[in-house]
Protein backbone atom coordinates (compact mmCIF):
# COMPACT_ATOMS: atom_id res chain seq x y z
CA UNK A 1 0.00 0.00 0.00
CA UNK A 2 1.81 3.12 -1.15
CA UNK A 3 -0.12 5.44 1.18
CA UNK A 4 1.05 3.54 4.20
CA UNK A 5 4.63 3.47 2.95
CA UNK A 6 4.52 7.23 2.44
CA UNK A 7 3.09 7.80 5.92
CA UNK A 8 5.73 5.65 7.54
CA UNK A 9 8.43 7.40 5.54
CA UNK A 10 7.27 10.83 6.66
CA UNK A 11 6.97 9.58 10.22
CA UNK A 12 10.49 8.23 10.07
CA UNK A 13 11.92 11.53 8.78
CA UNK A 14 10.00 13.64 11.28
CA UNK A 15 10.93 11.33 14.16
CA UNK A 16 14.58 11.31 13.15
CA UNK A 17 14.72 15.10 12.96
CA UNK A 18 12.99 15.49 16.31
CA UNK A 19 15.36 13.01 17.94
CA UNK A 20 18.30 14.82 16.39
CA UNK A 21 17.08 18.16 17.72
CA UNK A 22 16.43 16.87 21.25
CA UNK A 23 19.66 14.92 21.53
CA UNK A 24 21.85 17.75 20.28
CA UNK A 25 20.10 20.26 22.55
CA UNK A 26 20.40 18.04 25.62
CA UNK A 27 23.77 16.38 25.17
CA UNK A 28 25.96 18.78 23.27
CA UNK A 29 26.84 22.23 24.45
CA UNK A 30 28.86 22.98 21.38
CA UNK A 31 27.27 23.22 17.95
CA UNK A 32 30.54 22.43 16.24
CA UNK A 33 30.14 18.67 16.04
CA UNK A 34 26.47 18.27 15.23
CA UNK A 35 24.31 21.38 14.97
CA UNK A 36 20.61 20.87 15.79
CA UNK A 37 18.23 21.10 12.80
CA UNK A 38 16.87 24.46 13.94
CA UNK A 39 20.26 26.16 13.73
CA UNK A 40 20.81 24.57 10.33
CA UNK A 41 17.48 26.10 9.28
CA UNK A 42 18.47 29.47 10.72
CA UNK A 43 21.74 29.36 8.79
CA UNK A 44 19.85 28.46 5.62
CA UNK A 45 17.50 31.40 6.14
CA UNK A 46 20.40 33.79 6.67
CA UNK A 47 22.17 32.57 3.54
CA UNK A 48 18.98 32.93 1.51
CA UNK A 49 18.36 36.48 2.71
CA UNK A 50 21.88 37.63 1.93
CA UNK A 51 21.53 36.32 -1.63
CA UNK A 52 24.64 34.22 -1.19
CA UNK A 53 22.74 30.98 -1.54
CA UNK A 54 21.23 32.08 -4.82
CA UNK A 55 24.66 32.74 -6.27
CA UNK A 56 26.03 29.35 -5.23
CA UNK A 57 22.98 27.44 -6.37
CA UNK A 58 22.83 29.07 -9.79
CA UNK A 59 26.56 28.53 -10.37
CA UNK A 60 26.29 24.84 -9.53
CA UNK A 61 23.12 24.35 -11.55
CA UNK A 62 24.55 26.10 -14.60
CA UNK A 63 27.69 23.95 -14.59
CA UNK A 64 25.59 20.86 -14.02
CA UNK A 65 23.21 21.56 -16.91
CA UNK A 66 25.98 22.50 -19.37
CA UNK A 67 28.08 19.44 -18.57
CA UNK A 68 25.17 17.03 -18.47
CA UNK A 69 23.63 18.11 -21.76
CA UNK A 70 26.98 17.95 -23.55
CA UNK A 71 27.51 14.48 -22.12
CA UNK A 72 24.05 13.38 -23.28
CA UNK A 73 24.55 14.56 -26.86
CA UNK A 74 28.06 13.16 -27.28
CA UNK A 75 27.29 10.02 -25.29
CA UNK A 76 24.22 9.10 -27.33
CA UNK A 77 26.01 9.81 -30.62
CA UNK A 78 29.08 7.74 -29.79
CA UNK A 79 26.98 5.06 -28.13
CA UNK A 80 24.87 4.79 -31.26
CA UNK A 81 27.96 4.33 -33.42
CA UNK A 82 29.34 1.77 -30.97
CA UNK A 83 26.10 -0.17 -31.06
CA UNK A 84 25.87 -0.10 -34.86
CA UNK A 85 29.43 -0.79 -35.90
CA UNK A 86 31.39 -3.60 -34.36
CA UNK A 87 34.78 -2.21 -35.34
CA UNK A 88 34.02 1.14 -33.73
CA UNK A 89 33.07 -0.65 -30.52
CA UNK A 90 36.34 -2.61 -30.54
CA UNK A 91 38.27 0.56 -31.22
CA UNK A 92 36.70 2.50 -28.37
CA UNK A 93 36.46 -0.31 -25.84
CA UNK A 94 39.96 -0.27 -24.29
CA UNK A 95 39.93 3.51 -23.87
CA UNK A 96 36.47 3.60 -22.38
CA UNK A 97 37.32 0.80 -19.96
CA UNK A 98 40.40 2.72 -18.84
CA UNK A 99 38.56 6.01 -18.54
CA UNK A 100 35.72 4.35 -16.69
CA UNK A 101 37.91 2.75 -14.05
CA UNK A 102 39.80 5.92 -13.13
CA UNK A 103 38.05 7.73 -10.29
CA UNK A 104 37.05 11.15 -11.53
CA UNK A 105 38.67 12.74 -8.55
CA UNK A 106 42.05 11.43 -9.68
CA UNK A 107 41.40 13.13 -12.98
CA UNK A 108 40.72 16.56 -11.62
CA UNK A 109 44.38 17.63 -11.18
CA UNK A 110 44.93 17.02 -14.90
CA UNK A 111 41.87 18.96 -15.87
CA UNK A 112 42.92 21.91 -13.77
CA UNK A 113 46.42 21.87 -15.26
CA UNK A 114 45.08 21.65 -18.82
CA UNK A 115 41.88 23.67 -18.75
CA UNK A 116 42.28 26.06 -15.84
CA UNK A 117 39.76 26.59 -13.06
CA UNK A 118 36.95 28.26 -15.00
CA UNK A 119 33.58 27.02 -16.17
CA UNK A 120 35.10 24.98 -18.98
CA UNK A 121 37.06 22.69 -16.68
CA UNK A 122 33.92 21.98 -14.65
CA UNK A 123 31.99 21.06 -17.77
CA UNK A 124 34.80 18.68 -18.74
CA UNK A 125 34.69 17.01 -15.30
CA UNK A 126 30.92 16.51 -15.50
CA UNK A 127 31.25 15.30 -19.06
CA UNK A 128 33.93 12.77 -18.19
CA UNK A 129 31.97 11.34 -15.30
CA UNK A 130 28.61 11.17 -17.12
CA UNK A 131 29.32 10.41 -20.76
CA UNK A 132 30.64 6.88 -20.28
CA UNK A 133 27.52 5.63 -18.52
CA UNK A 134 25.27 7.08 -21.22
CA UNK A 135 27.53 5.78 -24.01
CA UNK A 136 27.66 2.21 -22.69
CA UNK A 137 23.92 2.07 -22.10
CA UNK A 138 23.07 3.52 -25.50
CA UNK A 139 25.37 0.98 -27.16
CA UNK A 140 23.74 -1.84 -25.20
CA UNK A 141 20.29 -0.61 -26.23
CA UNK A 142 21.19 -0.40 -29.90
CA UNK A 143 22.81 -3.85 -29.81
CA UNK A 144 19.97 -5.69 -28.12
CA UNK A 145 17.28 -4.48 -30.50
CA UNK A 146 14.77 -7.15 -31.47
CA UNK A 147 15.61 -8.35 -35.01
CA UNK A 148 11.91 -8.66 -35.79
CA UNK A 149 11.61 -4.88 -35.69
CA UNK A 150 14.46 -4.52 -38.16
CA UNK A 151 12.75 -7.00 -40.47
CA UNK A 152 9.60 -4.97 -40.14
CA UNK A 153 11.43 -1.82 -41.15
CA UNK A 154 12.86 -3.74 -44.11
CA UNK A 155 9.47 -4.87 -45.28
CA UNK A 156 8.15 -1.32 -44.91
CA UNK A 157 11.10 -0.14 -47.05
CA UNK A 158 12.15 2.45 -44.52
CA UNK A 159 15.23 4.41 -45.48
CA UNK A 160 18.29 3.99 -43.22
CA UNK A 161 17.58 7.39 -41.69
CA UNK A 162 13.99 6.43 -40.92
CA UNK A 163 15.12 3.10 -39.48
CA UNK A 164 17.42 4.95 -37.13
CA UNK A 165 14.90 7.55 -36.20
CA UNK A 166 11.77 5.41 -35.97
CA UNK A 167 13.04 2.00 -34.90
CA UNK A 168 16.50 1.96 -33.41
CA UNK A 169 16.43 5.04 -31.23
CA UNK A 170 12.99 4.43 -29.69
CA UNK A 171 14.03 0.83 -29.01
CA UNK A 172 17.15 2.02 -27.23
CA UNK A 173 15.32 4.75 -25.33
CA UNK A 174 14.84 2.89 -22.04
CA UNK A 175 18.53 2.05 -21.99
CA UNK A 176 19.46 5.64 -22.72
CA UNK A 177 17.26 6.83 -19.87
CA UNK A 178 18.86 4.33 -17.52
CA UNK A 179 22.26 5.65 -18.54
CA UNK A 180 21.08 9.19 -17.88
CA UNK A 181 19.76 8.20 -14.46
CA UNK A 182 23.09 6.67 -13.57
CA UNK A 183 24.76 9.76 -14.96
CA UNK A 184 22.79 12.30 -12.93
CA UNK A 185 24.12 11.23 -9.56
CA UNK A 186 27.63 11.00 -10.89
CA UNK A 187 27.35 14.39 -12.59
CA UNK A 188 26.40 16.01 -9.30
CA UNK A 189 29.44 14.41 -7.69
CA UNK A 190 31.58 15.72 -10.55
CA UNK A 191 30.37 19.30 -10.12
CA UNK A 192 31.04 19.23 -6.40
CA UNK A 193 34.50 17.70 -6.82
CA UNK A 194 35.45 20.33 -9.38
CA UNK A 195 34.13 23.13 -7.19
CA UNK A 196 35.86 21.83 -4.11
CA UNK A 197 39.16 21.82 -5.94
CA UNK A 198 39.00 25.32 -7.29
CA UNK A 199 36.07 27.72 -7.55
CA UNK A 200 34.76 30.96 -6.16
CA UNK A 201 31.07 30.06 -6.22
CA UNK A 202 28.89 26.97 -6.09
CA UNK A 203 27.76 24.49 -3.49
CA UNK A 204 31.14 22.74 -3.51
CA UNK A 205 32.76 26.07 -2.72
CA UNK A 206 30.23 26.64 0.07
CA UNK A 207 31.07 23.22 1.47
CA UNK A 208 34.76 23.94 1.46
CA UNK A 209 34.33 27.41 2.85
CA UNK A 210 32.16 26.15 5.70
CA UNK A 211 34.44 23.28 6.61
CA UNK A 212 37.55 25.47 6.58
CA UNK A 213 35.97 28.10 8.81
CA UNK A 214 34.47 25.45 11.12
CA UNK A 215 30.98 26.79 10.54
CA UNK A 216 29.02 23.58 11.15
CA UNK A 217 25.49 24.89 10.56
CA UNK A 218 26.61 26.23 7.18
CA UNK A 219 28.33 22.92 6.41
CA UNK A 220 25.10 21.09 7.11
CA UNK A 221 23.17 23.55 4.95
CA UNK A 222 25.44 22.60 2.06
CA UNK A 223 25.05 18.89 2.77
CA UNK A 224 21.26 19.14 3.05
CA UNK A 225 21.00 21.16 -0.17
CA UNK A 226 23.12 18.62 -2.00
CA UNK A 227 20.96 15.82 -0.63
CA UNK A 228 17.86 17.68 -1.83
CA UNK A 229 19.35 18.17 -5.29
CA UNK A 230 20.31 14.50 -5.45
CA UNK A 231 16.89 13.26 -4.38
CA UNK A 232 15.12 15.78 -6.63
CA UNK A 233 16.97 14.88 -9.79
CA UNK A 234 16.63 11.20 -9.00
CA UNK A 235 12.85 11.43 -8.65
CA UNK A 236 12.61 13.56 -11.77
CA UNK A 237 14.51 11.05 -13.88
CA UNK A 238 12.52 8.14 -12.49
CA UNK A 239 9.29 9.90 -13.36
CA UNK A 240 10.66 10.55 -16.83
CA UNK A 241 11.66 6.92 -17.12
CA UNK A 242 8.17 5.74 -16.25
CA UNK A 243 6.66 8.14 -18.73
CA UNK A 244 8.99 7.44 -21.66
CA UNK A 245 9.34 3.73 -21.12
CA UNK A 246 6.39 2.56 -19.04
CA UNK A 247 6.88 -1.09 -19.99
CA UNK A 248 10.20 -1.22 -18.26
CA UNK A 249 10.26 -2.46 -14.69
CA UNK A 250 12.59 -0.68 -12.33
CA UNK A 251 14.13 -1.63 -9.02
CA UNK A 252 12.87 -0.04 -5.84
CA UNK A 253 15.51 2.67 -5.81
Amino acid sequence: MPGQALRRGCLSIAGGLLLWEILTRLLLENELLIPPPTSVLRSLWKLTLSGELNRHLSATLFEFVCGFSTACIVGILLGYLMGRYRWFDDLMDPWIATLYSIPVIAFVPFIIIWFGIGLFSKIIVVFKITAVAIMLNTAAGIKTIDPVWLELSNSLRLSPWETTYKIRLPAALPYIITGMRLGVGRALLGVIVAELMAANAGLGYLLRDASETWDSPKLFVAVVLLAAMGVGSFILIRKGEQKLAPWRETAEW
Binding site: A5, R8, G9, C10, L11, S12, I13, G16, L32, L33, I34, W87, D90, L91, M92, D93, P94, W95, A97, T98, Y100, S101, I102, P103, V104, I105, A106, F107, V108, P109, F110, I113, W114, N137, T178, L182, G185, L188, L189, I192, V193, L196, G204, L207, R208, A210, S211, S216, L219, F220, A222, V223, L226, A227, G230, V231, S233, F234, E252, W253
Partner: protein, 252 residues
Protein backbone atom coordinates in the same frame (compact mmCIF):
# COMPACT_ATOMS: atom_id res chain seq x y z
CA UNK B 1 40.04 -9.98 -35.29
CA UNK B 2 38.43 -8.49 -32.23
CA UNK B 3 41.63 -8.62 -30.19
CA UNK B 4 43.66 -7.25 -33.09
CA UNK B 5 41.46 -4.17 -33.43
CA UNK B 6 41.73 -3.49 -29.73
CA UNK B 7 45.49 -3.84 -29.85
CA UNK B 8 45.68 -1.50 -32.82
CA UNK B 9 43.48 0.99 -31.00
CA UNK B 10 45.67 0.95 -27.90
CA UNK B 11 48.94 1.13 -29.82
CA UNK B 12 47.86 3.92 -32.16
CA UNK B 13 46.48 5.84 -29.19
CA UNK B 14 49.81 5.57 -27.41
CA UNK B 15 51.74 6.61 -30.53
CA UNK B 16 49.42 9.60 -30.98
CA UNK B 17 49.90 10.53 -27.34
CA UNK B 18 53.68 10.27 -27.74
CA UNK B 19 53.65 12.46 -30.86
CA UNK B 20 51.39 15.08 -29.28
CA UNK B 21 53.53 15.17 -26.18
CA UNK B 22 56.86 15.45 -27.97
CA UNK B 23 55.99 17.41 -31.12
CA UNK B 24 52.96 19.55 -30.31
CA UNK B 25 52.95 20.34 -26.60
CA UNK B 26 56.60 19.87 -25.75
CA UNK B 27 56.19 21.16 -22.21
CA UNK B 28 56.85 18.65 -19.45
CA UNK B 29 54.66 20.56 -16.99
CA UNK B 30 51.62 19.97 -19.21
CA UNK B 31 51.99 16.57 -20.85
CA UNK B 32 54.70 13.94 -21.07
CA UNK B 33 55.18 11.04 -23.42
CA UNK B 34 53.92 7.61 -22.34
CA UNK B 35 57.54 6.42 -22.46
CA UNK B 36 58.43 8.86 -19.67
CA UNK B 37 55.43 7.66 -17.66
CA UNK B 38 56.44 4.01 -18.07
CA UNK B 39 60.02 4.83 -17.10
CA UNK B 40 58.79 6.69 -14.03
CA UNK B 41 56.49 3.82 -13.11
CA UNK B 42 59.34 1.34 -13.46
CA UNK B 43 61.53 3.53 -11.27
CA UNK B 44 58.86 3.89 -8.59
CA UNK B 45 58.17 0.17 -8.55
CA UNK B 46 61.59 -1.41 -8.82
CA UNK B 47 64.29 1.21 -8.15
CA UNK B 48 63.11 3.50 -5.37
CA UNK B 49 60.12 1.37 -4.36
CA UNK B 50 58.34 4.54 -3.24
CA UNK B 51 55.05 3.36 -4.70
CA UNK B 52 54.50 0.54 -2.22
CA UNK B 53 53.84 2.45 1.01
CA UNK B 54 51.16 4.43 -0.82
CA UNK B 55 49.70 1.29 -2.35
CA UNK B 56 49.61 -0.50 1.02
CA UNK B 57 48.02 2.45 2.83
CA UNK B 58 45.29 2.78 0.19
CA UNK B 59 44.68 -0.97 0.06
CA UNK B 60 43.99 -1.19 3.79
CA UNK B 61 41.51 1.65 3.68
CA UNK B 62 39.81 0.07 0.69
CA UNK B 63 39.65 -3.45 2.16
CA UNK B 64 38.36 -2.33 5.56
CA UNK B 65 35.75 -0.11 3.95
CA UNK B 66 34.59 -2.88 1.61
CA UNK B 67 34.47 -5.46 4.40
CA UNK B 68 32.41 -3.30 6.74
CA UNK B 69 30.14 -2.31 3.85
CA UNK B 70 29.50 -5.98 3.04
CA UNK B 71 28.93 -6.85 6.70
CA UNK B 72 26.40 -4.05 7.09
CA UNK B 73 24.91 -3.92 3.61
CA UNK B 74 23.99 -7.58 3.10
CA UNK B 75 22.08 -8.16 6.38
CA UNK B 76 20.39 -4.77 6.16
CA UNK B 77 19.35 -5.43 2.58
CA UNK B 78 17.92 -8.81 3.60
CA UNK B 79 16.11 -7.28 6.55
CA UNK B 80 14.57 -4.62 4.36
CA UNK B 81 13.49 -7.20 1.80
CA UNK B 82 11.89 -9.49 4.38
CA UNK B 83 10.20 -6.85 6.53
CA UNK B 84 8.20 -4.16 4.74
CA UNK B 85 7.84 -2.15 7.96
CA UNK B 86 11.61 -1.81 8.31
CA UNK B 87 11.82 -0.89 4.66
CA UNK B 88 9.26 1.88 4.94
CA UNK B 89 10.98 3.42 7.94
CA UNK B 90 14.54 3.12 6.64
CA UNK B 91 13.84 3.94 2.99
CA UNK B 92 13.69 7.77 3.11
CA UNK B 93 17.00 7.98 4.96
CA UNK B 94 18.58 5.51 2.60
CA UNK B 95 17.42 7.40 -0.47
CA UNK B 96 18.72 10.68 0.92
CA UNK B 97 22.09 9.17 1.82
CA UNK B 98 22.38 7.32 -1.45
CA UNK B 99 21.56 10.18 -3.78
CA UNK B 100 23.65 12.80 -2.01
CA UNK B 101 27.08 13.09 -3.57
CA UNK B 102 29.33 11.24 -1.15
CA UNK B 103 31.94 13.92 -1.19
CA UNK B 104 29.54 16.22 0.66
CA UNK B 105 29.84 13.96 3.69
CA UNK B 106 33.62 13.97 3.66
CA UNK B 107 34.06 17.22 5.62
CA UNK B 108 31.40 16.14 8.12
CA UNK B 109 33.00 12.74 8.66
CA UNK B 110 36.36 14.42 9.02
CA UNK B 111 34.90 16.64 11.70
CA UNK B 112 33.50 13.67 13.60
CA UNK B 113 36.18 11.04 13.19
CA UNK B 114 39.35 13.06 12.79
CA UNK B 115 41.83 12.73 9.96
CA UNK B 116 42.94 9.25 10.97
CA UNK B 117 42.12 6.06 9.15
CA UNK B 118 38.63 5.92 10.72
CA UNK B 119 37.22 8.80 8.68
CA UNK B 120 38.79 7.40 5.50
CA UNK B 121 37.26 3.99 6.08
CA UNK B 122 33.93 5.68 6.73
CA UNK B 123 34.08 7.50 3.39
CA UNK B 124 34.90 4.28 1.51
CA UNK B 125 32.16 2.48 3.45
CA UNK B 126 29.62 5.09 2.47
CA UNK B 127 30.51 4.62 -1.17
CA UNK B 128 30.43 0.82 -1.15
CA UNK B 129 27.49 0.06 1.09
CA UNK B 130 24.66 1.16 -1.20
CA UNK B 131 25.29 -0.98 -4.26
CA UNK B 132 25.75 -3.97 -1.92
CA UNK B 133 22.64 -3.17 0.08
CA UNK B 134 20.46 -2.49 -2.93
CA UNK B 135 21.57 -5.64 -4.72
CA UNK B 136 21.05 -7.84 -1.63
CA UNK B 137 17.62 -6.30 -1.20
CA UNK B 138 16.74 -6.82 -4.82
CA UNK B 139 18.18 -10.34 -4.89
CA UNK B 140 16.10 -11.38 -1.92
CA UNK B 141 12.99 -9.79 -3.41
CA UNK B 142 13.14 -11.51 -6.77
CA UNK B 143 13.72 -15.05 -5.51
CA UNK B 144 11.46 -17.14 -7.67
CA UNK B 145 8.15 -17.98 -6.05
CA UNK B 146 8.48 -21.57 -7.24
CA UNK B 147 11.68 -22.07 -5.26
CA UNK B 148 9.96 -20.85 -2.12
CA UNK B 149 6.97 -23.08 -2.78
CA UNK B 150 9.22 -26.10 -3.25
CA UNK B 151 10.82 -25.26 0.10
CA UNK B 152 7.41 -24.94 1.70
CA UNK B 153 6.26 -28.28 0.37
CA UNK B 154 9.33 -29.87 1.91
CA UNK B 155 8.16 -28.26 5.15
CA UNK B 156 11.30 -26.21 5.63
CA UNK B 157 11.22 -24.01 8.71
CA UNK B 158 11.89 -20.27 8.44
CA UNK B 159 15.61 -20.61 9.13
CA UNK B 160 16.09 -23.58 6.83
CA UNK B 161 14.16 -21.84 4.09
CA UNK B 162 16.44 -18.84 4.43
CA UNK B 163 19.68 -20.83 4.45
CA UNK B 164 18.79 -23.33 1.76
CA UNK B 165 16.74 -21.29 -0.66
CA UNK B 166 16.67 -17.55 -0.15
CA UNK B 167 20.38 -17.10 0.55
CA UNK B 168 21.79 -19.11 -2.37
CA UNK B 169 19.29 -17.55 -4.76
CA UNK B 170 20.45 -14.06 -3.90
CA UNK B 171 24.19 -14.78 -4.05
CA UNK B 172 24.62 -13.67 -7.68
CA UNK B 173 22.96 -10.36 -6.88
CA UNK B 174 25.21 -9.77 -3.89
CA UNK B 175 28.30 -10.52 -5.95
CA UNK B 176 27.14 -8.14 -8.67
CA UNK B 177 26.69 -5.53 -5.95
CA UNK B 178 30.24 -6.12 -4.73
CA UNK B 179 31.47 -5.72 -8.28
CA UNK B 180 29.74 -2.38 -8.61
CA UNK B 181 31.10 -1.37 -5.23
CA UNK B 182 34.72 -1.77 -6.34
CA UNK B 183 34.70 1.32 -8.53
CA UNK B 184 32.84 3.40 -5.99
CA UNK B 185 35.20 2.21 -3.27
CA UNK B 186 38.24 3.31 -5.26
CA UNK B 187 36.68 6.72 -5.77
CA UNK B 188 36.05 6.78 -2.03
CA UNK B 189 39.73 6.07 -1.37
CA UNK B 190 40.75 8.96 -3.60
CA UNK B 191 38.26 11.32 -1.94
CA UNK B 192 39.30 10.25 1.55
CA UNK B 193 42.98 10.72 0.91
CA UNK B 194 42.43 14.05 -0.65
CA UNK B 195 41.10 15.45 2.64
CA UNK B 196 44.18 15.39 4.80
CA UNK B 197 46.42 12.39 4.31
CA UNK B 198 50.15 11.86 4.39
CA UNK B 199 50.33 8.74 2.30
CA UNK B 200 48.25 6.72 -0.12
CA UNK B 201 47.59 6.81 -3.84
CA UNK B 202 45.16 9.71 -3.57
CA UNK B 203 47.75 11.72 -1.67
CA UNK B 204 50.35 10.83 -4.32
CA UNK B 205 48.10 12.15 -7.08
CA UNK B 206 47.17 15.40 -5.39
CA UNK B 207 50.71 16.11 -4.28
CA UNK B 208 51.92 15.49 -7.83
CA UNK B 209 49.13 17.68 -9.20
CA UNK B 210 49.98 20.55 -6.92
CA UNK B 211 53.69 20.36 -7.70
CA UNK B 212 53.04 19.95 -11.45
CA UNK B 213 54.88 16.63 -11.42
CA UNK B 214 53.14 15.18 -14.46
CA UNK B 215 54.96 11.81 -14.65
CA UNK B 216 54.03 10.88 -11.07
CA UNK B 217 50.49 12.15 -11.69
CA UNK B 218 50.14 9.80 -14.65
CA UNK B 219 51.62 6.87 -12.71
CA UNK B 220 49.15 7.43 -9.87
CA UNK B 221 46.18 7.63 -12.23
CA UNK B 222 47.39 4.51 -14.07
CA UNK B 223 47.65 2.56 -10.82
CA UNK B 224 44.07 3.52 -10.00
CA UNK B 225 42.92 2.36 -13.42
CA UNK B 226 44.77 -0.94 -13.11
CA UNK B 227 43.37 -1.57 -9.63
CA UNK B 228 39.88 -0.83 -10.86
CA UNK B 229 40.12 -3.17 -13.83
CA UNK B 230 41.71 -5.96 -11.76
CA UNK B 231 39.21 -5.70 -8.93
CA UNK B 232 36.37 -5.84 -11.43
CA UNK B 233 37.79 -8.86 -13.24
CA UNK B 234 38.60 -10.76 -10.04
CA UNK B 235 35.05 -10.33 -8.79
CA UNK B 236 33.74 -11.40 -12.17
CA UNK B 237 35.77 -14.62 -11.91
CA UNK B 238 34.54 -15.22 -8.35
CA UNK B 239 31.03 -14.60 -9.59
CA UNK B 240 31.38 -17.21 -12.31
CA UNK B 241 32.86 -19.72 -9.86
CA UNK B 242 30.27 -19.14 -7.16
CA UNK B 243 27.28 -19.19 -9.47
CA UNK B 244 28.09 -21.60 -12.27
CA UNK B 245 24.42 -21.92 -13.17
CA UNK B 246 24.31 -18.35 -14.37
CA UNK B 247 25.94 -17.48 -17.63
CA UNK B 248 26.15 -13.75 -17.67
CA UNK B 249 24.63 -11.32 -15.30
CA UNK B 250 24.95 -7.63 -15.94
CA UNK B 251 23.58 -4.78 -13.88
CA UNK B 252 24.90 -1.80 -15.67
Amino acid sequence: MKGALKLISILSGLVLWHLVATRVVNDSSLLVSPLVVIAKGYEMMFVTAELYPHLVASSWIFLYGMLIAALVGVPLGFLMALSPVTRDYVNPWMTALYTTPRIAFAPVLLLWLGIDIASKIAIVFLGCVFPILINSFYGMRVVSREFVEVGRSFRLSGVALFVKILLPASVPFILAGLRLAVGRGLTGVAIAEWFGATEGLGYLIFFAGQTFNIPILFVGVAVFAILGIFGFQILKIIENLATPWRKEFETK
